[in-house]
C-alpha cells in the first residue's frame, strides 16, 4: 500500500498527489512514468512522474479526472492509499546521459500543454539543478488550466504562458509562441521537447520540422502492464512499430505517426465512458445522453 502524503487540487479536474513509494523514488529519473492502481477492481493507470524526493521517498503524480478510474482516484484524500504503485517504467530522457558540458552548450525549449506541464517540470528542474538554462512555454485553454506555473518559473530561464482564449498570458496556442520566439525574437534552439495532448505534439512537430529543430515528444498511449508484455501501447515511429513502454515513452516527434496514435487513443473511450455513466447513473441510465447508444 502506498500512502498519499499530500494532495493539491490544481484545477477543477487536475489533481496533484505526493505518494510514498520508496523504491520508485530511489531510482526514477525525468522522462519515466509509473502505473498506479487504486484498489482491487481499479484499472492500471499510467502516469508521468511530476517530481520526486529521494530523501522523503516520495513521488509526485498529476492527473486529470477523465474516466471512471481517475474520478475514483481524484476522490482520495491525504492519508488514503493506492493499492499499487509501480515504477519507474520506460526510459529516462536520453540527454541525461550526455556530459554536462555538452548540455551546457545546448539551448532547449520545452513546450508543455495542459497536464503535460507535469512531466515537463522534472526535466527542466533536473537541468536547472545542473546549472543548465532552458526555456519553457506552458500552453492551456484558459487561465484556470495553467498548472505548476510558480514551480516552473523557479527553474526555467524564461517562462512563457499562452492561453487559447487570452484569459492569461499571451493569447494563442503554443505554436504561436514558438513562431514569435524564433521568428520575431530571433531566438535559436537546438532542441524542442514537447509534451501535451497528441494534437498539440503533432502540430508542434510539424512546425519544428519546418524550422529545422530536432524535437522529442513523450507519448502516453493506452497500456496494461507497462513492461512490454501486452503490446497495447504500440506506435508507428518512422517505418517501425515501437512499444511506448519499453522503447519510449519519448520518441522523435518528426517520425511519430500522430494520426494513427490519435485513433488508437480513442479505442476505449466509448467503453470507459459508458462504464462511468453506468456507474454514476446506475439503473437510471438508459441512454439518450449523447455519450452512448
Amino acid at each position: 500500500m502506498y500512502e498519499i502524503i499530500r494532495k493539491e487540487q490544481l484545477s477543477d479536474a487536475i489533481v496533484m498527489m505526493e505518494v510514498k513509494a520508496e523504491r520508485v523514488a530511489k531510482s526514477c529519473l525525468p522522462g519515466q512514468f509509473v502505473i498506479v492502481k487504486i484498489d482491487e477492481r481499479g484499472e492500471r493507470i499510467p502516469l508521468t512522474i511530476c517530481d520526486y524526493s529521494r530523501e522523503k521517498g516520495t513521488v509526485t503524480i498529476v492527473f486529470q479526472t477523465v474516466g471512471v478510474s481517475t474520478h475514483r482516484m481524484g476522490a482520495l484524500e491525504q492519508g488514503d492509499f493506492f493499492r499499487d504503485f509501480v515504477g519507474p517504467l520506460g526510459n529516462y530522457c536520453e540527454w541525461i546521459d550526455e556530459p554536462a558540458e555538452e548540455l551546457q552548450k545546448k539551448k532547449i525549449l520545452f513546450v508543455a500543454g495542459g497536464v503535460g506541464t507535469a512531466p515537463v517540470y522534472p526535466q527542466v528542474k533536473w537541468l536547472h539543478s545542473k546549472g543548465i538554462a532552458a526555456d519553457c512555454i506552458i500552453g492551456a485553454r484558459n487561465q484556470s488550466l495553467v498548472i505548476l506555473e510558480d514551480e516552473m518559473r523557479a527553474v526555467a530561464e524564461n517562462l512563457y504562458v499562452t492561453t487559447d482564449d487570452g484569459s492569461y498570458g499571451m493569447k494563442g496556442n503554443v505554436n504561436d509562441c514558438i513562431k514569435k520566439l524564433v521568428r520575431e525574437e530571433n531566438k535559436s534552439y537546438d532542441m524542442v521537447v514537447a509534451i501535451g495532448p497528441l494534437i498539440m505534439m503533432k502540430f508542434v512537430s510539424l512546425l519544428t520540422k519546418e524550422l529545422g529543430i530536432p524535437t522529442i515528444v513523450s507519448l502516453n498511449p493506452i497500456m496494461v502492464d507497462g513492461t512490454g508484455m501486452c503490446g497495447a501501447c504500440r506506435v508507428a515511429v518512422g517505418n517501425e512499430i515501437k512499444f511506448a513502454c519499453v522503447d519510449g515513452p519519448e520518441f522523435d516527434g518528426h517520425l511519430v505517426d500522430f494520426d494513427q496514435a490519435m485513433k488508437r487513443q480513442q479505442m476505449y473511450k466509448t467503453e470507459e465512458g459508458r462504464r462511468y455513466l453506468k456507474e454514476k447513473e446506475g439503473a437510471t441510465h438508459h441512454g439518450g445522453c449523447g455519450h452512448c447508444e
Binding site: K26, G42, T227, M229, G231
Partner: protein, 461 residues
C-alpha cells in the same frame, strides 16, 4: 468396469460453458479417483515418473489414493511440486507422464493429471499444507518473477531453509497463471491463490510492483540488499506481430493483451473498471494453447470466433484436449489459412481480414511440412477484432541492466539446463526467459533445477 478404459471425468456441458467463465472440467469424486487409481499397474520400474519434469513419485501417490489415503498422497506430491492443483489442470500429461504409462500400451493410460488434480483439490478443501522442517539458513535469495518457475524455485529453496523473497512486476503474484491462463481452465481465487499461499506458508516473501532492471537492478540486489544469489524467472516477454498492413488498427490485440485484460484485470466481470473491446466477430491468428485460450475467452464474451492457422489440424501446437474443447464450444477452425492484410474502416477500426489458402509443401529443417500459398485463393473474413497469438520475443530489460549476464542470439538468457547457472556469478535463470515460450511444467522443472543449483552454489561458498 473395463480396466482398459479410463474413468471418465465430468465436464460442464459445452452449450452451457460457452457462455460462462466457470471451470470446464469438474474433476473426480473420491470414488471415481479410487476407481481410476485402482487401474494403476504399480510398475516396478515406473516409466511415468521419468516423463515428469519435476520427477513426482507417481506410483506412490496413486497407491495412496487407491488406499483412500488422500492426505498421504498429497504429502507425496508436495515433496516434489509446489503447484499440484495447477499442474493437474494445465500440464500436457498426454505427452509426458501419461505418454509413458505402461497401461497405455494396450488400453488408455492412467489419468495421472486428473488424479493429481483430485489430490490437490482435496488438500485445499481440507486445508492441508505442505510440511516444512528445514533448519533456517542465514542466507537470502532473490527470485525474479512469481510465475511457475519462480514459485517452484522459491518453494524448494525455502524448504531448504533459505530466506527467499520473490519480486513480481505486476500487482498480483502468479505470472502466466494469473494473467495468461483463463479462469475456465484455472480458477484464480480458489486454485492459484491457494497454491501461492502454500508457497508463502513455506516462509517465502513476495514483493509485488517491483520491476527488476527499473525499480532496482540485479547488481543492486546482490551488493546493496544483501542477497547471496538471484534466480531469474521473468517469463516470455514481448508479443510478436506479423508485420502485415493494418496491424495497428483499433481492434487488433496481442493475445497477451486480450487475456491480461480479461484474466488479470477481470474485464469480464461487471465490478472491475478495466474495459475490453470484446468484439462480435473475432479471428485469433495462431494455433497454440494461448490461441485456444484467447479464442475460448472471446467466445465467452459473446463473439463468433475463428482460429486462423497456416498449417493443418495435425500440426496445431495446442494440446489435443484444448482443441477438442474449443471445437465443442463452437470455435470455427480456418486451417491452412494465412492472413495477408487487416482491412480497416474509415475510423481506424478493423472491418475484416484478407486471407489466403495454404497447402503443405516439403518438410523443412525441423521436419515440419512448410505451408505454401495457393495462388489466387484469396478470400476475406468479415471481422471486428483480430487477436495475434504468434508467440513472444524475450524482454531485453534484465539482460540490458545486468552486467555480465549473457543472452543468446535470440535474446534469451543463457543458462545450463542442470543447474540454471548463467554467465554471471550468483545469478541463475530458468523458464521462458531462457527457453522462449514453453509450458508451465517445463518452467517448474527449470525452477527446480535452479533451486538445486543455487543450493549447491551457496553450500560451497
Amino acid at each position: 468396469m473395463d480396466v482398459l478404459k479410463r474413468v471418465p471425468v465430468r465436464e460442464q456441458d459445452p452449450a452451457v460453458r460457452a457462455h460462462n467463465f466457470d471451470e470446464v472440467c469438474l474433476g473426480y469424486s473420491l470414488e471415481e479417483a479410487k476407481a481410476e487409481a485402482d487401474r494403476c499397474l504399480k510398475c516396478k520400474n515406473p516409466k511415468c515418473q521419468t516423463g515428469c519434469p519435476v520427477n513426482i513419485d507417481i506410483p506412490r501417490f496413486i497407491g495412496k489414493v487407491s488406499e483412500g489415503d488422500v492426505e498421504g498422497a498429497y504429502h507425496v506430491i508436495s515433496e516434489y511440486s509446489a503447484l499440484p492443483a495447477v499442474c493437474g489442470r494445465v500440464c500436457p500429461q498426454e505427452s509426458q507422464c501419461e505418454a509413458k504409462c505402461i497401461r497405455g500400451i494396450k488400453g488408455e493410460a492412467i489419468s495421472i493429471g486428473k488424479l493429481e488434480r483430485f489430490v490437490a483439490d482435496y488438500a485445499r478443501e481440507h486445508e492441508l499444507r505442505p510440511v516444512v522442517q528445514a533448519e533456517k539458513k542465514n542466507k537470502k535469495v532473490a527470485v525474479i518473477g512469481s510465475g511457475p518457475a519462480g514459485l517452484t524455485c522459491a518453494g524448494d529453496l525455502a524448504k531448504n531453509g533459505y530466506d527467499v523473497t520473490i519480486f513480481e512486476a505486476l500487482h498480483e503474484p502468479g505470472g502466466v497463471l494469473v494473467y495468461g491462463i483463463p479462469e475456465f481452465r484455472l480458477p484464480k481465487d480458489t486454485v492459484v491463490k491457494s497454491e501461492i499461499e502454500n508457497v508463502k506458508a513455506l516462509g517465502v516473501k513476495i514483493e509485488t510492483n517491483v520491476v527488476i532492471g527499473k525499480s532496482v537492478t540485479i547488481d543492486e540486489l546482490l551488493t546493496e540488499e544483501g542477497f547471496s544469489a538471484v534466480f531469474v524467472g521473468s517469463g516470455a516477454g514481448l508479443p510478436k506481430f506479423m508485420g502485415i498492413p493494418g496491424e495497428n488498427a483499433n481492434g487488433v490485440f496481442s493475445a497477451n493483451e486480450y487475456l491480461t485484460r480479461n484474466n488479470l484485470m477481470k474485464a469480464f466481470t461487471d465490478d472491475h473498471d478495466t474495459p475490453i473491446a470484446a468484439g462480435k466477430k473475432v479471428a485469433v491468428v495462431g494455433g497454440g494453447n494461448v490461441a485456444m485460450d484467447a479464442a475460448r475467452t472471446a467466445l465467452r464474451l459473446g463473439a463468433e470466433v475463428y482460429i486462423v492457422y497456416r498449417r493443418g489440424e495435425e500440426e496445431l501446437p495446442a494440446r489435443v484436449e484444448e482443441v477438442h474443447h474449443a471445437k465443442e464450444e463452437g470455435v470455427i477452425f480456418k486451417l491452412l489459412t494465412n492472413p495477408k492484410e487487416i482491412l480497416v474502416d474509415e475510423n481506424g477500426w478493423v472491418k475484416g481480414m484478407r486471407c489466403v489458402q495454404m497447402e503443405l509443401g516439403a518438410p523443412d529443417a525441423s521436419g515440419r511440412r512448410q505451408p505454401v500459398e495457393v495462388e489466387g485463393s484469396d478470400f476475406t473474413l468479415t471481422l471486428d477484432t483480430v487477436i495475434m497469438s504468434l508467440g513472444t520475443s524475450p524482454n531485453p530489460l534484465i539482460v540490458s541492466t545486468t552486467k555480465g549476464l549473457e543472452a543468446n542470439r535470440r535474446g534469451c538468457i543463457v543458462a545450463t539446463e542442470e543447474t540454471g547457472c548463467t554467465s554471471k556469478e550468483g545469478v541463475f535463470a530458468g523458464g521462458d526467459a531462457v527457453t522462449g515460450a514453453a509450458t508451465v511444467i517445463l518452467a517448474m522443472g527449470a525452477g527446480k533445477a535452479a533451486a538445486k543449483g543455487i543450493h549447491e552454489y551457496l553450500s560451497e561458498k
